[in-house]
Symmetry: C2
Subunit: 592 residues, 2 copies
Amino acid sequence: MYKAPVEEIAFTLKHVAGMGRAMEDGRLGDLSGDVVDAILTEAGRFAGDVMEPLAEIGDRQGTKLVDGKVVLPPGWEQLYRDWIAGGWNGLTAPEEFGGQGLPHMLNIATLEMWNSASMAFGLAPTLTMGAVEALLAHGSEDLKRKYLAKLVSGEWAGTMNLTEPHAGSDVGALRTRAERRDDGTYRLFGQKIFITWGDHEAAENIVHFVLARLPDAPAGTRGISLFLVPKFLVGDDGSLGARNDYFAHSLEHKLGIHGSPTCTMIYGDGKYGSEKGAVGWLIGEENKGLACMFTMMNNARLAVGIQGVAIAEAATQKAIAYAKERTQGRAPGTTTTGMSPIIEHPDIARMLLTMKALTQGSRAICYACAEAIDMSHRDEGRASYWQGRAALLTPIAKSFSTDAGVDVASLGIQVHGGMGFIEETGAARLLRDARIAPIYEGTNGIQAIDLVTRKLTIAGGDHLRGFTHELREIADAVEKSNLDGFGETAARLYAAITDLEAASEWLLARQAEGRIAEALSGATPYQRLFGLVLTACYLAKGGLADVADGEGEKRIALCRFAAENMLAETTALTDRIVAGASSLEAARIALA
Amino acid sequence: MYKAPVEEIAFTLKHVAGMGRAMEDGRLGDLSGDVVDAILTEAGRFAGDVMEPLAEIGDRQGTKLVDGKVVLPPGWEQLYRDWIAGGWNGLTAPEEFGGQGLPHMLNIATLEMWNSASMAFGLAPTLTMGAVEALLAHGSEDLKRKYLAKLVSGEWAGTMNLTEPHAGSDVGALRTRAERRDDGTYRLFGQKIFITWGDHEAAENIVHFVLARLPDAPAGTRGISLFLVPKFLVGDDGSLGARNDYFAHSLEHKLGIHGSPTCTMIYGDGKYGSEKGAVGWLIGEENKGLACMFTMMNNARLAVGIQGVAIAEAATQKAIAYAKERTQGRAPGTTTTGMSPIIEHPDIARMLLTMKALTQGSRAICYACAEAIDMSHRDEGRASYWQGRAALLTPIAKSFSTDAGVDVASLGIQVHGGMGFIEETGAARLLRDARIAPIYEGTNGIQAIDLVTRKLTIAGGDHLRGFTHELREIADAVEKSNLDGFGETAARLYAAITDLEAASEWLLARQAEGRIAEALSGATPYQRLFGLVLTACYLAKGGLADVADGEGEKRIALCRFAAENMLAETTALTDRIVAGASSLEAARIALA
């Protein structure tokens, strides 16, 4: 059913995110537009033809814990092996470790396709890629030598172990214990929950990145260290040795992503090995583990954002196809006899256009974030600009896209009517899968706090101000284009950007005054406001790209729809930010 | 876990909906406030103590088709029998048929509780009550004599059979065939899908109300007749006879409401009986079946609306309880040591207050709709006023409340963080159950079309104008109250009502000009706009009710939150209605 929108993805990469310009400027090595198209086409084929047909059985059968082993859904072990055989896991990894050294933009674009085909499956490589990043950035040469090539190929899989029963968003509260040993290794003891792809038999080894606390560590986040804990110990020659002392204790029974094993992990219980304690190796420095973990988490946040885009894309495709086929009633203005395809009813068209605008808008935001990450490494003179842009866009990419994923999947069910509620239709699974994305890798509320308190404030707000200036240039270009198809888009964009600026300055001022609670009250509305403005601006940027692909008129029309039907919300959001805090505070008594 | 909010429900009935005034005016017989409280208390006890504990097993085990019989979840047959033994099924039915003759307001209030406890279970009586309504209004004396008392008691259950594979929203497209027989009965042949509680063993007999088409019937909706088709034929003495010729062919595998058997029904296949064809008796007149069915459907629409309220209430309770217990991080301004309960974080408080405002607002809308239905029978001098009000409020009660149910359930998951995605927490089930309510009994898009084309236009728009005048009086009262707690509520209400008036007049004008497509483009935004205005106005009405129950200050604070944080959206919605249609139309090319 899912057909990867290869052309739209390529267009967005090249003309909305700056891949085209970066190639022209020679920042992407010898990567050419044709190579990009070829990679995307091949990924799209694998996602649509090989992966997606296994998504439903993954959902229906889920994962099982049998005799201590995690059993993936039928066909999924082979799927994983076929997928890594395609080289997809190492797309962006350095060539010296067997990767292909391609830009992260391409990785995010292909991640979108894997997640559209099966979000439960798409999670596996996401975690391994994060492990590669952390090891590259913070691992010792010895650990890199032993682990990197296998993680890059995907023969070994990686995981992140942060959460504990009492430490979710508040990772500083974790209690897993790490003890030093004389040989420089550590022994870990404790329980971790919600560990995505925490155990399985698809990969030969699983390499866990585990946050734990040394006995003499300071309290809170400054006393957390990061350890590499392999499932099987690795000899100097890379051979697999003894089973490490941890195990997957149980699997969660979840609303969605049933094909992804979500494990409770017990470390150091003495189940394996002669000495109690899971053997771990320090990554980075003692008590500096959180910074290392953030290397994984920042990219993981964008990777979760793209899951929202992926679900939105799959849901939109499915709904449009259904709405063209299903006939009910007669749409206004119909002249033919018989029932109309429901896509002709204005209310259905509104839902589908909203879905499409949110999908393309959130895709553009995620790709622009990936561009900023790439350019922060490849555009040396402007590294700090791009770092600021990546930092600013990451929470928006994560939260706006995952909210869009849920909203679009829910609209997709609605378009299907009663059939949408029937599991076999597949629309319901998309909502069930999508619903985790606003929660994990930092809830969207945490993202909003991050956006307001750490990203908006970059360079005292000047990075944000520079960004809104760039957005105004897009509005200027729409105005100057004189294209009728844009309708009132330019005026709508100016108004929305003005709202964004006003809300931003208000939030900066409150923080400068130390009125943090007021700023935080507006954090989630601000995040949505920012996402809506970017959606409309990026749709406009796409509409302005003069590409002879026959889609220009459609892009402009969709942009106009977003500007004239969705953008007025920015004024309400700004009002909520600026005027809503005191009533929120006063209404706390209603929750008592 | 669920604790019926008996006091809040009683308050809303008496002081927001007009039950208090109606009792004073003697329109509710000898019903007193104390009796209302006693009934609500007892219903709350049954819902919380008896029904809710069986909800989870109903979800987990669902229903099964075993040897042609529909098997309910463990404990559910007994639950049904205990429930009807309590007399709950006949609360509003006439006393001459064994009912209690109580107002529909009370029925809706108790339906809320059943649906909070288990929406899958709550559906069963909803359908039977609809059957009672239809039989009372349109059945022959003979059919009433044979069927009514048993349906009123609930010993026999009722169903509605409308949908067919090609006829969902477009009921006029149905193909089920009815043939006349010389004895005045009919024989039915055809397939119906999505039949809620279509078969089970909890009731002794099941009485289906089936829409079918006579051989010589006109095409479309004017050729539809309504038939009563019992599972077991009923003798003149009321005894059960032969099995009728239909059967439940299969059960749907659904996203939610797993405890409710959703059946595909085959009529007249020759499985039972000597002569092919399910025996049916005409309800009302031939070819006038749709009007009879609307008697069932209008009340069913409100009953579905209350399901949205019910889910929202259950989700809000669960989320508030969790947010008070779960600690993470430190909220701004916290002076104590250790982690803060997450309810203290502004973003969590915002979610919970939004949930609470939507719950109480949609409850008030549904109760006000029930009041209008009651008064249309009991306030003789103003029957047409109340009929108009009931007609106008029904689509809003159905759609706004069910959208609120989905939104609030989704927010409830978010408040729970990772735990929200784990099925055992129970928050996910509420979303899964809630998701059908915007679809069945006429999708919310159909409700919006009904609102704009048939309800807004009542008396050329004058009923609507009278209503907004009443709403302005609430805003006036807020302003005159001079209560500081209301903050900017009065000004916000005036602005929102002005938006509603502007949108209404625009939609009326477009329809007068025959520009139907434009009016329909704004139908869904208009429906939400109306619901938001009513939410804030009814919260204000509650806040103004000077009741010494210690909750007044809380109600005013929640009203202010809604006014200052949620009501600004009305301007965006009005803009979408007035300015959005042409861009929607132009953007259709983006769906090609």
